[in-house]
Amino acid sequence: MTMIFGVPLAVFMGQLMLGLINGAFYALLSLGLAVIFGLLKIINFAHGAQYMLGAFAAMLALEYLGINYWAALLLVPLVVGTFGAVLERLILRRIAHLDHLYGLLLTYGLALIFEGTLINIFGVSGSSYPTPEALQGGLNLGFMFLPTYRAWVLVAALVVCGGTWFIIERTRLGAYLRAGTENPALMQAFGVNVPQLITLTYGFGVALAAFAGVLAAPLYPVSPTMGSSLLIVVFAVVVIGGMGSILGAILTGLAMGLIEGLTKVYYPEAANTVIFLVMILVLLLRPSGLFGKEA
């Protein structure tokens, strides 16, 4: 059969597919970061924790309230997003006028708190979330056996990413967002309720993370630490893409997933580091990132 660099085509295709699926997560998360960064100008270090909260919320909802996966897919982002909005209202807002590095530090602190608390309540070994009946089993793509659920993850993530992109780049609300990011004071002088806008945006960004969390729940053990290490990779993805554009965040996410996937076949030892290596390369060749606007 056809080989690609000594790997059977089938396996090769399979790996690409899996890479794409992981890429979908990177895309969702870096998108959320980009949206929040846009208006609040802070890197939301709690993003990983909020992704984790999403997964946990789904699991607890199932365990104690009997809320099934599909309902959770809608409710959890709503709830966690609202929680995010509250955080913004009560805490983040107080430092809005400061250097944005403070935002990074504050959210880092929050992340520590969330993670630590859940560790003390649930331990770290994590528990598992059952795959919804409708999505059990798998599809035979000919070149691989693809669990239905993973296929679904890919679709769902892409749809959500696309929707977000449209809202921000193509609607009037999006224009408000972009303008608000630059000169909130003036936006207010035009009669726009900026604080409200900010709260909603942060809530939305957090909701995206939570959504990713719910998607991830059936795939990985739901544990308090599931977010933090992932987040750093996503940071690298963000640097590679450059915070410039929403679309950039999405595409870079997917691309990095693919690259990582291939590394796992050809040189697994580097699978954890390949994205960082790409980042270094990009920094050397194009410091502002592939899609970065600012110099």
Binding site: G116, M243, F276
Partner: protein, 327 residues
């Protein structure tokens, strides 16, 4: 006329401030010399190591306005290199081992700097974080670091081949000396022509360029100095505890040093020392208390509180008060 010019009121104020500061330093040094009589020296040494680490970090954040989220990499590099050297070359004296570790950190710092310096603010933070994470993975896989187990039984050896450091007291005074040297370097760097340009760059980069300054070069130098001193801290730490482990390379460590600096006072020379002291004692106390497993939560809470309502940190707040009352 001219003479009065050259000593404006502001500068007279500076002068007298400098006086007061030096007095303070002398007093503190005296205390440090006596401390081991009262306090457990190993604990003191830990504090000093982290204090130096935090000061090095603060040189970058407080005086060049660059928030590095990857300083753990330098701490660990210093530590591992010193550890490997001292355990594989028994002839090597501790100070030599420490020197080698520091140099290793300097080299790594140059590499990091060249890559990250061109990005500002949050990007800089993320880039350094990512680079440090890569170093972390490297240390896990590298054969010579002992992976998860880490390096153990690093000999403390004899200082200059003369004074045995196996006892805690001589070790302590050696560490104290290293700390004082490191601190002096930072203090001087900040109050030097270089420090002035650094400040100008922080204030308005394009203008600094138009005045003919190659800003990247200045930032890079600042970064390398900071990295080197962080490495020095790591190397010393390894000699003290006779081991080097992944903890120092983990990004939580980068977070902790930020916390120390923030708590003590960013941009104040002495703040990081106070911060380090507090955080280290806190960790030691908590770890043995019933709420030991809430350490990270508590650290997180402190972080939040500092950022929300305590931004100039302990030393910063004190300075404010002093300024209010004596002006």
């Amino acid at each position: 006329m001219a003479t009065t010019h050259s000593l404006t009121p502001a500068m007279q104020r500076q002068r007298s401030a400098r006086m007061r500061r030096n007095m303070l330093y002398l007093v503190l040094l005296g205390l440090a010399l006596l401390a081991p009589l009262a306090i457990y020296p190993v604990f003191l040494m830990k504090v000093l190591c982290f204090a130096l680490f935090a000061c090095a970090f603060n040189l970058l954040l407080g005086f060049a306005g660059l928030l590095s989220f990857g300083h753990a990499a330098f701490l660990a590099t210093g530590g591992y290199f010193t550890g490997i050297m001292l355990s594989s070359y028994p002839g090597l004296t501790p100070e030599a081992g420490i020197l080698i570790g520091t140099l290793a950190a300097v080299v790594l710092g140059t590499f990091f700097g060249v890559l990250s310096i061109r990005r500002q603010g949050i990007y800089f933070a993320m880039v350094t974080l990512a680079l440090a994470q890569m170093v972390y993975f490297f240390f896990i896989q590298a054969p010579f670091t002992g992976g998860e187990d880490g390096l153990h039984g690093v000999p403390r050896g004899e200082l200059f081949g003369l004074i045995s450091l196996s006892d805690n007291l001589p070790m302590y005074y050696f560490v104290l000396t290293i700390f004082v040297i490191g601190f002096a370097i930072i203090q001087r760097t900040v109050h030097s022509p270089f420090g002035q340009v650094l400040k100008a760059i922080r204030e308005n980069e394009p203008r600094a360029v138009s005045l003919g300054y190659n800003v990247d070069a200045y930032k890079l130098v600042a970064f390398v100095i900071s990295a080197g001193l962080a490495g020095l801290a790591g190397s010393t730490k390894t000699v003290v505890f006779q081991l080097a482990s992944l903890t120092d390379a983990h990004w939580h460590m980068s977070g902790e040093v930020i916390l120390m600096t923030l708590l003590g006072g960013v941009g104040t020379l002495f703040g990081p020392v106070v911060g380090a002291g507090l955080v280290v004692s806190l960790q030691t106390q908590l770890a043995q208390s019933p709420i030991g497993n809430w350490v990270s939560v508590i650290l997180g809470a402190i972080f939040v509180i500092c950022v929300l309502s305590f931004r100039s940190g302990i030393v910063g707040e004190i300075q404010k008060m002093v300024r209010k009352n004596f002006k």
